[in-house]
Symmetry: D2
Subunit: 346 residues, 4 copies
Amino acid sequence: MLNVAIVGASGYTGLELIRILHCHPEVAVTCLTSEQSAGRRISDVFPTLRGRCDLVLENLEPVRVAEKADLIFTALPHKAAMEVVPTFLRLGRRVIDLSADYRLSDPEVYGAWYETHLNPANLKRAVYGLPEVRRAKIRGAKLVANPGCYPTSIILGLAPLVKKGLIDLKGIIADSASGVSGAGRSARVDSLYCEVNDGFRAYGVGGVHRHTPEIEQELSLLAGEELRITFTPHLVPMDRGILSTIYAVPHKVTTTERLVELYSAFYAGQPFVRVLPAGSLPSTAFVRGSNFCDLAPLVDARTGRIIVVSAIDNLVKGASGQAVQNMNLVCGFPECMGLEGLALFP
Amino acid sequence: MLNVAIVGASGYTGLELIRILHCHPEVAVTCLTSEQSAGRRISDVFPTLRGRCDLVLENLEPVRVAEKADLIFTALPHKAAMEVVPTFLRLGRRVIDLSADYRLSDPEVYGAWYETHLNPANLKRAVYGLPEVRRAKIRGAKLVANPGCYPTSIILGLAPLVKKGLIDLKGIIADSASGVSGAGRSARVDSLYCEVNDGFRAYGVGGVHRHTPEIEQELSLLAGEELRITFTPHLVPMDRGILSTIYAVPHKVTTTERLVELYSAFYAGQPFVRVLPAGSLPSTAFVRGSNFCDLAPLVDARTGRIIVVSAIDNLVKGASGQAVQNMNLVCGFPECMGLEGLALFP
Amino acid sequence: MLNVAIVGASGYTGLELIRILHCHPEVAVTCLTSEQSAGRRISDVFPTLRGRCDLVLENLEPVRVAEKADLIFTALPHKAAMEVVPTFLRLGRRVIDLSADYRLSDPEVYGAWYETHLNPANLKRAVYGLPEVRRAKIRGAKLVANPGCYPTSIILGLAPLVKKGLIDLKGIIADSASGVSGAGRSARVDSLYCEVNDGFRAYGVGGVHRHTPEIEQELSLLAGEELRITFTPHLVPMDRGILSTIYAVPHKVTTTERLVELYSAFYAGQPFVRVLPAGSLPSTAFVRGSNFCDLAPLVDARTGRIIVVSAIDNLVKGASGQAVQNMNLVCGFPECMGLEGLALFP
Amino acid sequence: MLNVAIVGASGYTGLELIRILHCHPEVAVTCLTSEQSAGRRISDVFPTLRGRCDLVLENLEPVRVAEKADLIFTALPHKAAMEVVPTFLRLGRRVIDLSADYRLSDPEVYGAWYETHLNPANLKRAVYGLPEVRRAKIRGAKLVANPGCYPTSIILGLAPLVKKGLIDLKGIIADSASGVSGAGRSARVDSLYCEVNDGFRAYGVGGVHRHTPEIEQELSLLAGEELRITFTPHLVPMDRGILSTIYAVPHKVTTTERLVELYSAFYAGQPFVRVLPAGSLPSTAFVRGSNFCDLAPLVDARTGRIIVVSAIDNLVKGASGQAVQNMNLVCGFPECMGLEGLALFP
């Protein structure tokens, strides 16, 4: 049994890790921390866990956490993660970091979008944890930077086109929409039920959302040259899910059938990517609670544009499920272990 | 491996059976039927299943179904079930029936609330499948009548009080509220998003809901005498969940603490009933997608009334999860097998 | 033109007052205050108002407010209201208070459920502002205590039965459910979208909700003797609306038809109470945004119990709409002025 | 008083017309028709209307309808409208048609996207009813083709840029999202609560949605040359609202400030278009129930793209509110009469 700790367990991604790991046969959750709720049982914070996981939340003391766990999930806000990850690594623990702190390989880019990086030394050790793109590197990693939710949906949606050099790299637009859990569990007026319900809005419009450089970094690596995208996030009155509708201009005229073929070949053998047949479109409802990314690539024959629609559950493939998938790779477990659950619908 | 068929697979309880059984290590789903969608893949009806369960839906021909399965779940409307269950039983198959057809032991009562019973002969063989109340009988059953969703929440909420003779049997009121999936997947104006969203209403008020005789039958058996209840269902703008707030008048003054003790003792060892400590209250959100029934018994000290709040997921403990629990008992599998999944929150 | 001020304008009841008064031909809103947002335009807080009401929010300085207004709506939390109302009254201003501070006529009862009352002297001047029950007194009032949302729905639901002495006063149970706007606009984890959505729960169970004494006070006055009720509030994932399902035991056997007749006669001429014909049931969706209270009284023939279902919009008839109705009475305007808007459905 | 009839009154746009006209001082609704519900009171179909509009729904007999009304709103599906509109016109009645039948000036285009046009003769008389673009022509019109919901949001969002020739006409992408009321009130599995709730999906992707030619026709007229757009609609779990996020490539580098200035000047004096200041973004929640179109034009400085976010209520500015605005123009009433109501929030 692998002993794992979850640092920042009283947020939604922390809870989702506990939920998924509860059905993982090779893992025991041995330590949970929370700054706000230390001393309380996790099942008092999240009554879903009552009788199944009743651990008491601890303060975050890195050395004590490391004593209890072989592998640590850091489900903290950015900055808070890089304050403790170095200790975990120094003590020989493996880390899957769900924050943004180790996703951007260039500390100056991190500095421009977040703040001064506190731990640039470990950036080189960090592997960007998108298994469909760099499974081999993840297997040996000490530190996995678990991708952001929007980037996961967009990079998987574009990887075949970008990698194969089929589109104009200046013409990419990613129009995405997320459920409210993406905003986390902190008490803010903007996230109140009555402020969100029965409304739809864009936010962070105009190239200012912090997931932008992450998407650009990974797509640029796939393309072999620098690219910039236009990325617009929206807020949907629903708990979970991200749907990205991605627009690109192909170098040559193509068809939906050829795209479906291309995507199917590109993602052959990937257990969590489902390329839909022509005529089908994904919905976040069809991946709710599961680790799937559903993709529908198609062509607008009237304008010649390629459109790719991509759906994930932001808390699963967009966060905790992908983190467990990365843990499986890092630890040599079967990649799908603990992640076989199907979506909850309705 | 146990081969199972699901008759009526294109409804919500059918889908939920597939979802749960997908993670059950001793079961293979070998046959799915649907009147409306025969010939289509189940994963075209429910894209959540794509790549994991792609069986083609068949017409309901009872003999052919029986050839493919050791045990059959009938997830049909009432009447449709009793048209095929006799064949399954005659051919030696075990049946877990999710309809109302075998829940009422008296065919005259069935006739008064539904229509003339077509198969009274098998009523005696049917066991009402509420494991917390009659586990032993379920173990040997050929035909399990899986309880209704409202009855499950209300009977579990009242069983300790009624069985112990602690309340006035004339004073019971059950005020319940259900998510919309309880209305099924048929195209009706009343179930449209815009008709349901952002509204709350009662329906079937005044002792006319068909779950009333089922609740009364089971509570009367527990009480050892006939009783009648006032039962009011409501419709909540949510997918899943039933919450029942139940009112009773105790024979003697009591306290919340004593009730919690009583309930905890009564349900000790029951894997899917969680009695909450004094001060905690259940929510349907905390059992969403899980097989739990969460119970909070308490006393209104100002009026002396007992109030019990009971929460289940109507599609799991109120239907398909309980059906799998019954299957486990019938087949000698561990009772919780396939049902260990925790609630999806948020 | 009547100049009115709204004290506490940045909450949901404040906004609703502005929305309603915007279409009132005899009123000009001349002053808005907000502790949290003073200095900002109200239309920056609530963009619905942009271009139609762009007043700058002021700090709450009672004398300055009084200078600008003939009548003042206080939409403040309890306690905060009674800190300023005395000044408004002393300066000769009329006040419609939407807080709980002047609803309970006995300061000891207020003390037991809230805290020590700061202004018992004015309690005698306050008129409980439920027009259907005491229109005449409201007409001359200097200070109207605008009723709570739950009390409005429950008192209107029970008034005919209690006033006519038709039911057992010990047997009343009010099971109510409210939309989330009832919890106000403060940033609390409990009111976050993801905590509320797709769930249903009871709260304040067991006679502890602060609306209990208010309901009991008014029903006791109608009955001519003291009574106690069992009141259970629930939280529904919707923005607006309260539905109360009320149970009572009649002294004599009765019928739905007789009850509908009784209620229709009792409420004849009341512009905002609609008694539904037998067979119809109210929904909060049918009163959303309107000042109506829809009532369906009926009999459960099997148990003899009376059930009354009552629906209002908690922000309109349960707060700001009723406040404008009271203002109209106080000022001699037609009672329905500004309140003719029909419900927004869907 | 103007007597008006609403043909197709039992759908959501029919109800919305009744709701709006109820507060219009110059209009009396004298006739309502419904194929499905003829013989029932409209207030039995929509209990929101009880006591305020209790007309009995009639069968659609065009001559009898024309006898009762000076002006007729046709809120019918496409094709059904053009079967009756000629009769209304022949009898000298004015018509505001909410269907698609008279929006496309070229019957061949109509034929390609819908079916063979039955009444091409009247196409020339029809005026496309977007007041912000052609108010003068609407004033004298006998037949107004009320715009579609998506087209309203997109054309208003792009008109200043297209009219002024500031953008590349080949680079326009409109990514839109609608509430569920846009799908109408017919009983379809796709529109069931459980199919829609807590999910987000695209539909009609790839240039196949029937609003595409309507948008292109109007933008081409504004541009003075033919253009094609990429338009992708999405479905949001909410009742009302359309948000369009529109992408365009400017001929010259520009700034958000300049765009806001341009839009403010272009829409100066338009009572229902609100151009937001830089830094503000619209939400459908802020226009819910109102006739506003809120616009935020801005620049993504990193890629140089222009992004315009546009929000309307699909049932008001996207249908019935705009229809009343057109009626006001046609009849010489003040343009805002009956449309002064502010959005209902929350």
